[in-house]
Structures are given as C-alpha cells and as structure tokens.
C-alpha cells in the first residue's frame, strides 16, 4: 500500500489532537489590577499627612514628592541616566561572564571542582564588603561601581544557569549523541536552549540585584545617580528627596524587569508549563 493513501486516514486524527492553548477559565485579570495597591497607599499617605496625623517634615505627602521630582528638573534626568547606564553596563558584563562560567563549570566536572567552591564562597560576601576594596583598587570613577554591579548580577545568573544545565533531560542529550553533535554544537543546539527558562530566571534575579548593588555603589563616592540622591537627601535633611529616589528606584526596577519579562515570554513560547497556559 502506498504511503500517500495511508496519510489521508491519519490526517483525520490531527484535528482531534489537543488544542495548543486551552480555553481560559475566566479570562486574564485586568493589567490595571497591579495599580490598585500602590495608588491606594499613596492616597492614604496623602490623607494622613494633610490631616496632620503624620509630621510633614518627616513624612512628605506624595504630592510634595512629585513637586520635588519636578524641582529636580533636568538634574534628575541626568541622575537617572547615569544610574541606568551603570546598571546596564554592570549587568551586561556580570551576566555575560556568568553564562560563560556556568557553561564551563556545568559541562566539566574538573572545572566544577576547581571553580565552584570559590564561586560559592565569593557569593556569600555581602555587597557592601566589596566597596572599600574596589575603591582602593579601582579608584572612585565608574570602574568600581560597574564592577560592583557586575558582581551582584553574576551569581544569580551563574547559579540558575548552572542548575538549568545540570537538569537538562538526559534523553535530549542522548538525542544529540545520535546526531553526532560536537561539544560546542551540543551546547548551542540542545543544552542552552533547554536551559533557557533557568537562564531567564537568573537574569531577572540578577537584574534586581544589579539595582541593589547600584545603590551600594552610589551611596559611597558618587556625585551623581539615584544612590547619590539618597545620600544627598539624608545629609540635607530632605526626606522628600530620599522618598523621590526610592520611588524612582522602584519604578525603574519594575520597568527593567518588565522588559526582561516580555523578552522571556517571547523566547519561551515553546514551554508547555502552567505559566504559558495561564497566558
């Protein structure tokens, strides 16, 4: 019997296969839902300050903070720009080195025995402990700040990707063997794509740590940036400036994470997990 004739009966089964996306239950919650909590908090704060229940010189009202943001004007844009550039640079360097380190350690037991204990020990060092050393070694310009942020971004990316590589289904690796893939081809075509979910988890944690380490870097020896604004606000007894800087850190942290999250969503459409099923 020829194969073409067979396929006609097989095609019928295709339509009965389960659909790519199951029908949702009650649809997706409205994106504005996330705004409810922050907006209510700000309104409550405003009301408490205006009614005099909170001392205005210690707890500036949200409207006051907004005014401060406007007063800072173009200076503010420069503070934001400097901080963003530091985070972007440090994160890019730290994450790239982490990917290389994870692949090397993940594929070679000897490299793991050699490097991993050191990485684990360095990971335990608190961010602020690096600051004096980096200042001594690298001076007070951009280099120590970007280095510190890179250190912060390195470990989450390294640890997550390493665990992702180690958990790649052995059966997929064997498939690569059947096709005689070289070590590099195995990494590029099977191990890295299969570890992509873990890599994204690491990148998102790494990015949030990059913002934390940015503040550590800018609290000391900086003349610009959001961390500098925090110090400046404290030294000049301006809680409105401190709160404005905290607000900006929250907004920028959230925005940068959203960018990464949307990249993740696009890169991982193939995943057959609850995350993709929930839409």
């Amino acid at each position: 019997m020829n194969t073409a004739a067979r396929t006609s009966s097989l095609q019928a089964t295709v339509s009965s296969a389960r659909p790519a996306v199951p029908a949702g239950r009650a649809g997706r919650p409205h994106p504005a839902l996330g705004w409810v909590l922050p907006v209510l908090t700000l309104l409550a704060f405003e009301a408490l300050v205006r009614s005099g229940l909170l001392a205005a010189h210690l707890f500036p009202a949200p409207s006051e903070i907004v005014r401060t943001l406007f007063d800072l004007g173009s200076g503010l844009a420069s503070h934001i720009g400097v901080s963003l550039a530091r985070v972007a640079g440090g994160f890019a360097i730290g994450a790239s080195l982490a990917v290389i380190a994870a692949v090397v350690v993940g594929l070679d037991r000897r490299a793991e025995a050699l490097l991993d204990p050191t990485f684990q020990a360095l990971r335990a060092v608190p961010s602020l402990a690096w600051v004096p050393l980096l200042l001594l070694w690298l001076g007070i310009d951009e280099t120590p700040k970007i280095t510190l942020i890179a250190i912060g971004a390195f470990f989450p990316v390294y640890l997550n990707l390493l665990s992702g590589l180690r958990n790649v289904d052995r059966k997929l690796v064997e498939l690569g063997e059947v096709y005689g893939l070289s070590r590099t081809a195995l990494v590029r075509r099977i191990l890295l794509p299969a570890s992509l979910p873990s890599l994204y988890t690491g990148l998102r944690v790494g990015l949030s740590l990059a913002w934390m380490f940015l503040v550590a870097a800018e609290l000391i020896a900086a003349t610009r940036g959001l961390g500098y604004l925090l110090t400046d606000g404290r030294e000049t007894s301006r809680p409105d400036i401190v709160l404005a800087a905290i607000l900006l850190l929250a907004v920028l942290g959230k925005l940068s994470d959203s960018v990464l999250k949307s990249l993740e969503k696009r890169a991982l459409v193939w995943r057959d997990a609850l995350e993709t099923r929930l839409g």
């Binding site: 067979r6 396929t7 063997e177």
Partner: protein, 242 residues
C-alpha cells in the same frame, strides 16, 4: 552478497551483571526484525550498541561490510518517547540533523506529508498529541534516508488504537523507503504482525527465532499470526521468562 548488518557481542557487562552473552545477529536488507523478551534481557542494550551509543563492549558491529565505531548517519534511531526538542517547530525537529538553516528543506515536507503532518509543520511540539509527536520522530529518523532504522519500543507509550495506526504507517514507510527495521518491543502481537523474523531473547542470549511467512497485507486475526504469537510465548515460557 553481504548482509546489511552484522552484530556480534561476545559479552557485555554492567558491573557484575552480564547483559549480553555471545550474542549474534545478522540482518538482510529490507528485512523487518523484532527483538522480544522480558525487561532486562539485553534487547535495549543491544540496540544501543548497534546505534553506536554504547561503545563499552568487546563486540563488532558491521554495516554494509564496514565496521562501525560510534554513531552513523546510516542508522536512524527512534526512541520510546518522541524526544522532540520543544523549542523547535515540527519541521525544524524533522530536519534537526541539517541544522535550522535547512529546516525549510523540501525533503522535510515530503517526510511530513508521508506521516500525515504537513499541516502542522510550523507548530511547536507542545501542540501535538502523543501519537502525532511519535510520527514526527519517525519522520526525523528517516531524514537521512538511513538504510537501517532502529526502534526502541516506539509505540509503547501510546494508546492501542494509535499504536495500530502507527504500526501501519511504519510498515508503509519502511516499504516505500526500502528501509530495514530492527525493532525492540515488549508487545508480542506487534512483533508478530510487523516482522519477517522475531528473535526471542532471554538472559542476554538468543533463545530462538520465529520466522513469519504470512503475506502482507496481514490481518491481525490471521491464524498464522496467532500461531507465531503462541510459538513466541512458548519459547519465553520454556525459558521460564514468563
């Protein structure tokens, strides 16, 4: 005329356990041969040795007169699970050996048409049912036009109706591509219906061999197949495997 495949493994051990014991197998081109036996009888190990995935043995594998040392494009492998790469489309999975650049290869689409899946060429594996995914795996196994296709319990994870359809598809494709099949299975009915020869294994050795002369297309209810199946069960019972 030389045989398509010649395998001889004097001994293969996993630690103290001997999984293959003076095992020999010869396949002529175009044959469909099944290896049946209980779990742990060494049949999957043998398949891995032929595939070149297990090289820790003292035996020889000869394909078309050439000694094999490792994996070969002339040997396709289909596993128990489809093992599709979830991040690649159906077409990219079929053309995996040619890398992504050649996933648009017309050959990929011909293969997908043969397994009845050309309309889901751009779908991701997560959208496929188990039977569909295994058909993609069959198409992938045939991509390099291998003269020999190894199948390790390829239909054990699908339901009975899908299994029958997949067996028919496999047979049709093997005939069309002139592919020799070496199939490992637990399913005595499957072995009897598909094969020209059924090799019954136990304790790492060939217990006996049953030749099935019934003409194709075969009826699953044919007395000759029932007889062959009973003979296979008899051999297994005789060896106290069942």
């Amino acid at each position: 005329m030389t045989a398509l495949l010649d395998v001889h493994v004097p001994s293969k051990r996993f630690g103290d356990r001997r999984v293959l014991d003076n095992f020999s197998l010869t396949l002529e081109a175009g044959e469909i041969v099944s290896l049946v036996g209980a779990s742990g009888c060494g049949k999957s190990t043998l398949l891995r040795i032929v595939a070149g995935l297990d090289r820790e043995h003292d035996g020889t594998v000869t394909l078309k007169g050439q000694p094999q040392h490792g994996v070969s494009r002339d040997i396709g492998v289909i596993f128990q699970e489809p093992r599709l790469l979830p991040w690649l489309t159906v077409a990219q999975n079929v053309g995996f050996d040619a890398d992504a650049a050649r996933a648009r290869d017309p050959h990929v689409f011909t293969l997908l048409e043969e397994v009845g899946l050309s309309q889901v060429a751009d779908a991701l594996p997560k959208a496929l049912s188990g039977g569909m995914a295994q058909r993609v795996a069959i198409a992938r196994g045939l991509f390099n036009r291998p003269p020999l296709l190894l199948l390790d319990e390829p239909f054990s994870a699908v339901d009975a109706f899908t299994r029958i359809r997949l067996q028919e598809l496999l047979l049709a494709i093997a005939r069309e591509h002139d592919t020799t099949l070496l199939l490992v299975t637990h399913d005595v009915d499957e072995a009897a219906w598909l094969s020209d020869r059924v090799i019954v294994m136990g304790g790492g050795r060939v217990l006996d061999e049953v030749t099935i002369t019934e003409q194709r297309p075969r009826s699953r209810r044919s007395p000759a197949l029932t007889e062959a199946r009973n003979r296979i069960l008899e051999i297994l019972e005789g060896a106290h495997v069942l």
